[in-house]
Subunit: 325 residues, 2 copies
């Protein structure tokens, strides 16, 4: 039963079944730095600051292309940005999306965390509150989740929580699931729907695609790379199997409808489909979308290509179907 399958070396062509823009993302070499990471708190902090500096011009250009406005602020002391599309349909005026950014719990602070918020604002026509949660070394587990819950408590108590959707990708995809688990535990209302993209739902290196898609996914590349080291840095010695760190182990009974997004080359393909199966086993409405040839979170890397419109069109349609009006 434990004989491993030996797979020979292979050469993977860039698929011609995707748009030229997606082909460019797939053709990119393995991400620089995927297997190097800082060894000191200051090193991690410097990397986060560098990710912000690198993202700022892209985010500004994207906001202009998508015609969204961005307002910084705080909610009960937690840093947020409110992202607003050029127009909101009457039936969506009382709806709201809360976005929790990714970046392996250590990257993409400030405006760097906003691309997904801008995309769902622009393609969905929703108002979005993006949570700029604390990250290590400023604060460790469960600080990111605490900040997200502070925002959730405030927004969900201000009106009908079923009008609010959560969206997040990667670490953010795990955090929106953990928010559901925490809301249950704390007796807070559930959101109306959750969009979890390629979630880091299991950071214990468990899941078949950690092996099958190793060195195939050109973003995360391998579970022995940057992202796992970053997740351990955030966990700060805490049990990695805690459902608030690895939500696939949580009890999702009572969850609202969930839409899951991943790609065939995604290192977290298994992390995603395992959450789908758990939800379906509980009878929860759960839609899975797997995009051809895409590695981790490729579906929101370029707002100008059709696959991005396709993925956010699906998510927006899911929110419109399941959020209370």
């Amino acid at each position: 039963m434990t004989v491993p399958l030996n797979v020979p070396a292979r050469s993977l062509p860039v698929p011609d079944t995707v748009s030229p823009g997606m082909q460019a993302l797939i053709a990119a070499p393995l991400r620089a730095g995927w297997n190097t990471f800082p060894t000191t708190p200051d090193g991690w902090r410097a990397l986060a600051e560098a990710s912000l500096a690198a993202a700022r011009p892209d985010v500004a250009a994207m906001a202009e292309r998508l015609r969204v406005t961005i307002e910084p602020g705080t909610i009960d002391g937690v840093r947020v940005h409110t992202v607003t599309p050029p127009s909101i349909a009457p039936e969506d005026r009382d709806r709201l999306i809360v976005q929790i950014h990714g970046g392996c719990y250590v990257l993409l602070p400030g405006e760097a965390g906003l691309p997904e918020a801008m995309l769902i604002a622009a393609f969905g026509g929703f108002k979005v509150v993006a949570v700029d949660y604390r990250m290590p070394p400023e604060a460790y587990f469960p600080a990111a989740l605490d900040d997200a819950m502070t925002v959730w408590k405030s927004l969900s108590s201000a009106g009908d929580a079923r009008r609010i959707g959560l969206i997040g990708t990667s670490a953010g995809g795990a955090l929106v699931l953990a928010m559901g688990l925490r809301a249950k535990r704390d007796g807070l209302p559930m959101p109306g729907a959750i969009a979890s993209g390629t979630p880091m739902s299991d950071i214990t290196k468990t899941g078949d695609s950690f092996h099958t898609n190793a060195m195939v996914d050109n973003v995360l590349v391998s579970t022995d790379g940057f992202c796992d080291a970053a997740a351990r840095f955030y966990a700060n010695g805490h049990d990695l199997r805690d459902p608030l760190l690895s939500p696939v182990y949580g009890d999702m009974a009572g969850f609202p409808p969930v839409i899951l997004t991943t790609g065939t080359r995604d290192l977290l393909l298994s992390n995603t489909v395992r959450v789908h199966r758990k939800l379906r086993a509980l009878g929860i409405v759960a839609d899975l979308h797997v995009y051809e040839g895409q590695s981790h979170a490729h579906y929101f890397r370029d707002d100008r290509i059709p696959e991005t419109a396709e993925a956010f069109g699906e998510i927006a349609s899911f929110f419109r179907t399941h959020l209370a009006a």
Copy 2:
């Protein structure tokens, strides 16, 4: 844009995220004969007969375990088997499932094609008509589809076609999609729902998972193996890109709801998700289920393991939701 990605040799452990029974299927070595195939019509015929002889005792044991009865017959000259579960709920009495078996268009004649029919009869509680279509060298493309359509024409004209669901896997998964295309072309009614499992929706060797899951899928193993040679034998010189051979290229507008099933190691993962995307782009209800660690059609290889009940539970629930009562 066309620089291939070089993936080093790897050793894939058997995942512990699936049941022991599924672990046994995943731990099996690459299927014997995956890259050898007959070179004469008699050789293909002998192989089909051998597949029937090998399957007969398994099918009989399975029918007993699942307590289904099997009746051979014909419909307008086409060989069929009617598979009946021990009991049928009142609301399902007028519902019917038509099953089109797989086997790369050349294998699994007679009772050998019945496992999927027995599974949806047993786990779904539906009456099933299984089509034992002609295969080469008895008859070539489009004979399999012609036989399926003869049965469809007869059954769909006998009552409300929306009460009838189609199910098929692999070649059968492609045939049920081609039946939808042909029904449209011929002005016949559409079925109420279609279950297409890991369809051979593109036999032109196009699709990213033909590369990423080559030598990873222990059933089909590679697009340069048996199944592609068999499909070309069936196509008999016909253009492989014809939508009736490669339905991913067909116009699926007007299709009923479709449920698609595949696995993370499936060589046809891309063939499956590409059909999902096409359907969704047309706004058609289409549910995708991707099972952890599974290779091609692993989800119906053993009726005694939980993953089989899970997959057929999803399909049965989909039929119950979408078929007219």
